[in-house]
C-alpha cells in the first residue's frame, strides 16, 4: 500500500551483523581500532587510552583536540561523521580536572569513540569548538557553556541557552553550585519575574543584529525603543 521502500538499516558493507555485547569487563577488553590509528597519527597528543565497560576513552591534549576530531571526521578510514554528544564532567574531588567529552560515532564502521580533553584545576575553562565540523555541536556546546561555563573557542554564537541571559546565580552543574541555587526562593522568583523575557523583544536581543541595518527607519526606531508584545 505504501509506495515507500522499507529497507534494513545498518547495512554497513562488509561488516558482520553486530550483536548485543555480553559479559563486558570493567577495565580492559578490546579497544576501538581508531585509538591505535590515533596513536600512530598524533603520537604525543594522545595522552592515554583506556577501555571502560567496553567503551574506548581516548584522552587527548586539549590544544590539539580540534585537529584530532577533524581528522577523525575527514579520514575515510575513520569517518566519524556523527557527533552524538558534547558534554563535561566535574568530579566531587576538586583536585581532579574537569573533563570535556565528545561522543563520536562512525556509522559507516559501526564504531563508538569517547574523546576527552582535560581542564586542570586553575586553568581557564576553555575548549575548542567543533561547530565547523559538526553543525549539531551548536546547541550542545551552548548548553555545556550554560551549565558549566566552559567557553568553546570558535563557536559563532556562544550564549546561554536553557537559562535566561540575565541569569545571575552562576553555572548550575558546577559542583560549587548548591542544588537549590544561591539565592532565596523569593529572590529567585523576583529575579525571574523582573527578567521578564517576554515583555520586550528587539533585534539585538535575538542576535539578529546584522539584519538591523536593512530595516526601514520607523521599524528601527520602534525596535530601538523596545517593542512590546502587543499588550
Amino acid at each position: 500500500m505504501t509506495a515507500f521502500t522499507v529497507v534494513t538499516a545498518g547495512s554497513a558493507p562488509g561488516l558482520p551483523v553486530p550483536a548485543t555485547p555480553k559479559q563486558v569487563p570493567h577495565r580492559g577488553g578490546e579497544a576501538n581500532p581508531s585509538a591505535e590509528a590515533l596513536r600512530a597519527k598524533f603520537g604525543g597528543a594522545i595522552l592515554r587510552v583506556e577501555v571502560v565497560w567496553g567503551e574506548t576513552n581516548v584522552i587527548v591534549a586539549m590544544d590539539r583536540a580540534l585537529e584530532i576530531i577533524r581528522w577523525l571526521h575527514d579520514d575515510p578510514s575513520q569517518s566519524y561523521e556523527y557527533l552524538s554528544d558534547v558534554t563535561a564532567v566535574e568530579f566531587r574531588d576538586s583536585t581532579l580536572p574537569i573533563e570535556v567529552i565528545w561522543h563520536l560515532r562512525s556509522i559507516k564502521h559501526r564504531r563508538f569513540l569517547r574523546l576527552k580533553g582535560m581542564i586542570a584545576t586553575g586553568q581557564p575553562l576553555a575548549a575548542p569548538s567543533v561547530y565547523d565540523i559538526y553543525k549539531g555541536a551548536d546547541w550542545l556546546e551552548r548548553e555545556c557553556y550554560d551549565m558549566f561555563g566552559i567557553v568553546f573557542e570558535g563557536h559563532p554564537d556562544l550564549r546561554r541557552i536553557l537559562l535566561w541571559e540575565q541569569y545571575a546565580e552562576g553555572f548550575p552543574l558546577r559542583k560549587d553550585f548548591p542544588l537549590r541555587g544561591r539565592f532565596s526562593r523569593a529572590e529567585q522568583l523576583r529575579q525571574a519575574l523582573a527578567a521578564n523575557p517576554e515583555a520586550r523583544y528587539s533585534m539585538e536581543e535575538l542576535s539578529v543584529a546584522d539584519a538591523y541595518a536593512e530595516l526601514p527607519q520607523d521599524m528601527r526606531a520602534r525596535i530601538k525603543g523596545g517593542e512590546s508584545t502587543g499588550e
Binding site: L162, L163, W164, E169, P172, F177, P178, L179, R180, G181, R182, F183, S184, R185, A186, E187, Q188, L189, R190, Q191, A192, L193, A194, A195, N196, P197, E198, A199
Partner: protein, 207 residues
C-alpha cells in the same frame, strides 16, 4: 481518601442584615449557573500533566461533558487557567503574563504536584508552587493526576463558581508590588517553598 465532600450542616443561620435580596440571589444563581457550565479552559500545558490533560480532553474522558470543549489557547477568550506541568523560573513571567491577559472573572487550576508545590523538582530551576505567581483556586494532587482527578477538580471548581455572589467576590486584578513584581511578601514565599523532610534548607531572604 478525603475526596468525599463533608456533609453540609443542616442548620442554616439567617442574618437579615447581611442577606442578599431575592432578585440578587436569583441573578447570582443564573449567572453562576451559566459560568459554571461553560468554563472555557486555557490549557497552560508544559510537561507530563499536559499529556494527561490531552487524554482528559480526548474521547475516553471527554471534558466536553463539562462545558469545556472549547480549548481556548488564547488567554483573552478563556475563563479558567489550567496550569498542567512544572513551571520553571524562566517560565514564571510567561505564566504571570498569561494570567494578567485573561479577562475577569477567571479561575486557576493547578494540575499536578509540580505546579502545586514544585513536586520532585526541589532545585534551582523550578518555581515551588505557582501560587507564588498567580492565585490558585483548585490544586490537583498527582504526578501526573489521572484524568478522573482533573475532572474532580473541575467539578469542585464548578461548585465554587456556583457559590459566588456578585457583592462579595472580589473581581479586581491583583497588582504585584511594582519594584519586586511579587504580590506576596518574600518571607511568605520562603515559607511556601520551604524544603521538607531532610532536605537541605533553602537560603532565606534577607540572609
Amino acid at each position: 481518601m478525603g475526596l468525599i465532600d463533608a456533609p453540609t450542616p443542616s442548620v442554616v443561620s439567617v442574618d437579615p442584615a447581611h442577606s442578599e435580596g431575592w432578585v440578587a440571589t436569583r441573578l447570582d444563581f443564573l449567572v453562576n449557573w451559566g459560568r459554571a457550565n461553560s468554563l472555557w479552559p486555557m490549557p497552560f500545558g508544559t510537561a507530563c500533566c499536559a499529556i494527561e490533560f490531552m487524554a482528559s480532553a480526548a474521547s475516553k474522558f471527554d471534558l466536553a461533558r463539562f462545558g469545556m470543549e472549547r480549548m481556548g489557547f488564547s488567554p483573552r477568550q478563556a475563563d479558567v487557567l489550567i496550569c498542567a506541568g512544572r513551571v520553571p523560573f524562566k517560565l514564571a513571567p510567561v505564566l504571570r503574563r498569561i494570567w494578567q491577559q485573561m479577562p475577569q472573572p477567571k479561575w486557576a487550576i493547578s494540575m499536578g504536584a509540580c505546579a502545586s508545590t514544585g513536586g520532585m523538582f526541589d532545585n534551582y530551576a523550578v518555581v515551588q508552587g505557582i501560587d507564588t505567581i498567580i492565585p490558585v483556586d483548585v490544586y490537583v494532587p498527582g504526578c501526573p493526576p489521572r484524568p478522573e482527578a482533573l475532572i474532580h477538580a473541575i467539578m469542585m471548581l464548578q461548585k465554587k463558581v456556583m457559590k459566588e455572589t456578585m457583592s462579595s467576590t472580589p473581581r479586581e486584578e491583583m497588582v504585584p508590588d511594582p519594584t519586586s513584581q511579587l504580590y506576596i511578601p518574600p518571607s511568605r514565599i520562603d515559607t511556601l517553598s520551604q524544603a521538607f523532610g531532610n532536605s537541605i534548607p533553602q537560603t532565606r531572604s534577607g540572609q
